[in-house]
């Protein structure tokens, strides 16, 4: 079994060789701290600025509005805690959704323990936020809304421009966690009414450990990481020069290939969905069929549990991910799948396959062929399936 099929690109992606080569000098001979004043550091500083301006251009933002961080989680923490702090005199109410990444949800829960009030919006069965419900949740004390651009588990793309417009109509600062969307969907922050946007380099073939927060120049935000005067005094910490320069290259490549990658991934994604839903019985396909990331698929296989499925896929050389969390006495499956209305027992059997431009048609076929065998095997040892078959027989 020499097969290795990586279908977990929402977890992380492989660094592009061009990105790696771009970074290499800054990990080797060009090691200066870009904040230093000698010539040796100056070139590096200029390269970091180049990365900043090309990323800003990709977002439709000004260079001075892009701040580098350690990744998506830090950006989410900064956006939410920073605005909550700077606008605390104005109000204490924050609106988010039930399907956010934990970097947003746990940050909001933290703020709840510190006197803030948070509304967690419901989503529909496809994972979509209803703009009318969002508008209805806005109160005079609402200072911030944080709604993800695209969901990491089920791939649903939210109506961000519309939601941002509503926020602005009511004077509410609008943040979006675009970690899954950035580099995969064209985003223009100004046209889409986005005040704050979080992104991470490793989701688009860039290096791990570097991300960004776009902050509209009109937004008042407190710092999260205090210390030195890096990032125009807003985010302390020695500049991750190699990471940022690699991030810049990854964005340049994503920009150049975006439509081509989308078309390619969509073709493979739809083939995977088609084969799984027609060749395997009792499967639930999760997320919106159209308003969806081009690389995301998510299924629930009834009568079986996700971890078992993952281990058997792994032993067949296939990397995927599960929303199941058979990890504690609480045993709660994915909060996203529960939010779209799936019962616990079905949500436990979820699997996410996320593609990339490196995925081949053969990978998809091999995965489905293997999946069919594994699902069959696990169902044959499932008491739930046994009961289901007996019930059907009697009926």
């Amino acid at each position: 079994m020499n097969k290795f099929i990586y279908l977990d690109n929402a977890a992380t992606t492989k660094i592009d060789p061009q990105v790696f080569e771009t970074m290499r000098p800054y990990l080797e001979e060009e090691y200066a701290n870009p904040s230093s004043s000698y010539t040796f550091a100056g070139n590096i500083h200029a390269k970091v600025d180049d990365a900043r301006s090309s990323i800003a251009q990709f977002l439709g933002a000004k260079s001075s509005e892009v701040f580098f961080t350690s990744g998506g989680s830090e950006s989410d923490n900064w956006a939410i805690k920073g605005v909550a702090d700077s606008l605390s005199a104005k109000g204490n109410h924050i609106i988010t959704t039930k399907i956010e990444h934990h970097a947003v949800l746990h940050t909001c829960e933290f703020l709840e323990r510190h006197g803030y009030e948070v509304t967690y919006l419901d989503v529909d069965e496809y994972g979509l936020v209803d703009p009318a419900k969002f508008e209805a949740a806005i109160k005079p004390t609402t200072i911030l809304a944080s709604i993800m651009f695209a969901n990491n588990e089920i791939g649903t793309i939210e109506p961000i421009a519309e939601l941002g417009k509503i926020a602005h109509d009511h004077g509410v600062v609008f943040h979006t966690d675009a970690v899954q969307a950035f580099g995969h969907i064209r985003i223009h922050v100004k046209e889409m009414n986005i005040d704050l946007l979080s992104a991470s380099a490793h989701k688009l073939n860039g290096p791990k450990g570097v991300g960004l927060l776009y902050i509209d120049s009109k937004v008042k935000i407190s710092s999260l990481i205090h210390g030195g005067s890096q990032e125009r005094g807003r985010r302390a910490g020695t500049t991750n020069a190699a990471g940022i320069i690699g991030f810049g290259k990854a964005v340049e490549l994503a920009d150049a290939r975006l439509e081509e990658t989308n078309a390619y991934e969509t073709k493979l994604r739809d083939k995977l969905i088609q084969r799984v839903t027609t060749e395997i019985p009792y499967v639930k396909f999760n997320g919106d069929p159209v308003k969806r990331l081009s690389n995301n698929t998510n299924f629930c296989f009834r009568f079986i549990e996700g971890e078992s499925l993952l281990i058997l896929l792994d032993s067949n050389g296939i990397c995927a991910s599960s929303g199941s969390a058979c990890t504690s006495g609480a045993l709660d499956p994915s909060h996203v799948l529960l939010a779209i209305g799936l019962p616990h027992e079905i949500a436990h059997g979820s699997i996410r396959f996320t593609l990339s431009r490196d995925t081949t048609e053969q990978d998809i076929d091999d995965t489905v062929d293997t999946l069919k065998k594994i699902v069959d095997r696990l169902r044959n040892m499932s008491p739930l399936y046994e009961d289901f078959l007996k019930k059907n027989k009697e009926a």
Binding site: E305, E307, S308, S322, A325, C326, G329, P333, E345, M381
Partner: protein, 153 residues
């Protein structure tokens, strides 16, 4: 979250090649414990002869890798044992036989112990027997004292 790297070789073996999967028709005793909401259900079938010796055991399990492995090991441990000895196959015995479980999966071994007890209870009821030390079966392990002591791990 995948547990692959945290499972012992024995757990992986019993998960990948589970022993005694299936059903026993007209079993002497059948017990089902756990619930789908929590993600684990075990069903244990026992074939017990007239001398109260477990002749055969089979299982079906809905659950994670550890749930399948503990079920498989539990069947191996009870086959050939008397009813009284089978009752003494504790969750600790199942765990030890598997070279341990990750802490967050210890509850699976409790489920296996309870599945044996539930099947024995069913056997006792069908045959109007009293098995010394056997308590009425629980629907799920969160009703057991051991689970309470583990504080829900």
């Amino acid at each position: 979250m995948s547990q692959v790297t945290e499972y012992s070789a024995k757990v992986m073996d019993h998960f990948s090649n589970p022993r005694n999967v299936g059903e026993i028709e007209d079993a002497s005793g059948v017990g089902t414990v756990g619930n789908a909401k929590c993600g684990d259900i075990m069903r244990m079938y026992l074939d017990i002869d007239e001398n109260q010796v477990v002749r055969d055991a089979k299982f079906k399990t809905f659950g994670c890798g550890a749930a399948v492995a503990t079920s498989s090991m539990a069947t191996e441990l009870v086959i050939g044992k008397t009813v009284q000895q089978a009752l003494e196959v504790t969750n600790k015995a199942v765990m030890e036989a598997l070279d341990g479980l990750p802490p967050i999966k210890v509850h699976c071994s409790l489920l296996a112990e309870q599945a044996i007890h539930a099947a024995l209870w069913d056997y006792a009821e069908k045959n109007h027997l009293v098995i010394e030390g056997l308590k009425p079966p629980v629907n799920d392990i969160d009703e057991t004292e051991a689970f309470y002591q583990m504080q829900g791990e």
